[in-house]
Symmetry: C2
Subunit: 253 residues, 2 copies
């Protein structure tokens, strides 16, 4: 059983404003919440799960001193941000921003310039995790990492990849990035360029890299298309995946 007040409080966390006020966000689904309990129990404030879910993990919850509530499917539907809730929802504390010491001479990383679609944003965090990019950067106009749809799309990768909101200029200056690659429509063929460690800027879904940030790009790159008059562009997350894959291939394989 949960109170009306609790329901209201959890529902409020669907919105960025209230997440920021409380420093709390939601993680949903058996797989990711189980991973959370196993690998980052300190992040969890409270768990709301169905009888079956709680029974399965109650020992761990006790051991980690995590507060839990058994809820009905109906109650879960009321607090969930998903159209089909999946057995459990965890209210979590914001992740403390880690100290990032990136050496762009030895690593590559991503800068998301105004990526707005939560599915794209979360999928890119998942991609970064796959290729061992431990921290990615993004403009303040990009999606909120704690948007429930972003968290969902990362499939747990938000636990391993740090996401830092900072201006491109600050990232370049703080981490002394010399090579700043940009995904554009008329740059050098990514398959034929010799790629090196550096920062890769991915632009907005509709408008690409912002004018203000274009001036920092030292190496414009393009994924060549089959012909001139086909699709005008690839999906932004897809383009980011193809580019990241090519950097990974050239630098590590």
């Amino acid at each position: 059983m949960i109170s009306k007040n609790q329901i209201k409080q959890i529902q409020s966390l669907h919105q960025k404003k209230f997440r920021d006020q409380n420093n709390l966000f939601l993680v949903e689904g058996i797989k990711t919440v189980t991973e959370l309990i196993d690998t980052a129990p300190d992040l969890i404030s409270e768990v709301f799960g169905t009888d079956a879910f709680i029974n399965n993990v109650s020992e761990k919850l006790l051991r980690c001193n995590i507060k839990w509530h058994v809820v009905s499917d109906y109650e879960l539907e009321q607090i969930s941000s998903l159209s089909s809730p999946n057995k459990v929802l965890a209210v979590c504390n914001y992740i403390k921003p880690p100290k990032i010491n990136l050496d762009f001479g030895k690593n590559f990383s991503l800068y998301l310039d105004d990526i707005r679609d939560p599915g794209n944003f979360g999928t890119i965090v998942r991609l970064a995790d796959w290729y061992g990019v431990s921290a990615i950067f993004c403009s303040s106009t990009s999606c909120d990492l704690y948007n429930p749809k972003v968290i969902q799309a990362t499939m747990g990768a938000f636990l391993r990849v740090s996401v830092i909101y900072e201006s491109l200029q600050d990232v370049i200056e703080k981490h002394n990035a010399k090579l700043v690659y940009g995904a554009v429509l008329s740059g050098k063929n990514i398959y034929k360029e010799k790629l090196e460690n550096g920062l890769i800027v991915i632009g907005n879904e509709a408008n690409g890299i912002t004018e203000n940030n274009m001036r920092y790009i030292t190496h414009p790159l393009t994924i060549p298309s089959h012909k001139e008059n086909g699709s005008e562009s690839l999906n932004a997350a897809m383009a980011c995946g193809i580019i990241t894959s090519e950097f990974f291939r050239q630098l590590t394989q």
Copy 2:
């Protein structure tokens, strides 16, 4: 003005059952509908647009003998499948299945085995268009191409890429595919294999390639990850993009 009956009929096309009954589907948004009018006017049955949109294209509509209706924003909201409708909706006739004459000795293509997410499915059609894959195949359990969310995600690429629903066995036999690559978790490193033209099978978002289809795979491929215990997988469309990019690179660049 549109009648209640028209609204009901268009709304029914949000569902596959009624699309199949009427052989009609919906295309929405200024960009794609304009492209439709320019490149495939014969597909269009009727256009429902705001005053401003219709004014802009009325000459073309007249020239192509396309029936149109001016609708208010409110009416558009009622018939649209989008949460934020974008000025115009076109009711279109199903695309006639083209005769596909694929030579897998000279081309590569994709087989989508049970891809369920409309965003993934549409993004893959857009990807195929980018890399010049003119026809892709998929299992009958995959998304419906005419699902409005799929059409939306293709960004017009459904006009250039043929999507054929057929069993994997039939595709292999009909087109005499000798090399059947499969995206799996423990195959050969895609970056190190010498890839050749053939059919590439991409599996379901959660479960990968179905057991029944696994036996047709002659060359299992894997996108190597940075380390053992990171993300378990990439998003299915993302994986498809990275693999397609690597085939394109090795075969054409």
